[in-house]
């Protein structure tokens, strides 16, 4: 005989399977991010004015700069979480999973930064790519963090993975200031700071600010969900290991 579960329980378990990493907070945050992205697209493409020098190419600024900001933020959080894991008092695999999730998001947005920068470069420089210091160091940073993710994927226990990737993250983050200050140190083709030099109108600044806030919230939302997926992956791996050990013990007992 089959006993039917109460309707509310069935709905709740269906929801838990359909949106396994979701909570009320994350749903609220996701809604805010979606609203922010729609606002950014409308402001960036329709409302904000064109620039007297760059024309409409300036619209790339509102999405290219927040992408780069998000990638920097992600790599710094990866390093801080890695340091928290290595520090004996705060050692927890939760820090390692935050580091891993943050690095994945950082790699995505570093790649997006390179592609959007190339599209912008095609308009303003007439070419998709030049080997100037900003572009080269950015590409190098992306490759470094792809390597970091590859190192995370090597075998071993969770703590072995956490230890080796934490050390790598603390070394890799040293490249972030190199990329950021490359426009000052080596005078590349890539433009320098526009905001501090007062080259943007109020509406342009507001649009850029909207992009920065939206992308920061997006980062929190993505890392929140991704580290929950990584937590479940670790639990699944642990259960597989436990089952294999139990099987071995049974075999040994026979």
């Amino acid at each position: 005989m089959t006993i039917a579960a109460p309707a509310s329980q069935t709905t709740s378990s269906r929801s838990a399977l359909r949106r396994p990493t979701s909570t009320r907070f994350s749903r609220g945050l996701g809604t805010a991010v979606l609203a922010g992205l729609v606002t950014l697209v409308v402001l960036g493409l329709a409302v904000s004015p064109d620039d007297r020098i760059q024309g409409d190419a300036v619209r790339n600024l509102y999405i290219h700069v927040p992408s780069a900001w998000l990638a920097y933020l992600a790599f710094i959080v990866t390093a801080v979480s890695s340091a928290a894991y290595l520090f004996r008092r705060t050692r927890s695999l939760a820090w390692d999973r935050i580091a891993g999730a943050s690095a994945e998001v950082g790699v995505l947005f570093m790649a997006i930064t390179l592609v959007t920068g190339s599209l912008w470069g095609r308009i303003t420089w007439g070419t998709y790519w030049v080997w100037d210091s900003r572009l080269t160091t950015t590409a190098f940073l992306l490759v470094t963090y792809i390597g970091y993710l590859a190192v995370r994927g090597l075998g071993g226990s969770h703590h072995q993975r956490a230890r080796r990737s934490a050390v790598l993250a603390l070394l890799a983050v040293l490249e972030v200031p190199l990329v950021h200050f490359s426009v000052r140190w080596w005078r590349p083709l890539h433009q320098g700071q526009s905001v501090r030099n007062g080259e943007l109108s109020d509406l342009m600044l507001f649009t850029l600010f909207t992009g920065l806030v939206t992308f920061t919230l997006l980062y929190v939302w993505l890392v929140l969900h991704r580290q929950r997926v990584l937590t479940m992956d670790d639990m699944v791996a642990d259960r597989g290991l436990d089952a294999a050990l139990a099987e071995r013990q049974r075999e040994g007992g026979q």
């Binding site: 838990a16 990493t21 409409d56 959007t116």
Partner: protein, 55 residues
Amino acid sequence: MSALLSWSLGDIDNASHVVGTYVVVLGGIGLFVLRMRVSARRSAERVPPEDRPWT
């Protein structure tokens, strides 16, 4: 909103590169979220809700 955008895009110089930038960003985010959801559902089948610390 789409009317506002199409009116605006008609006036944009280098529209393919400018709009392409937005498409790359939003498409990249969309693909990442999709991949994450697929991976989450796969793992969730083997981890009951009561074992997840956030539920």
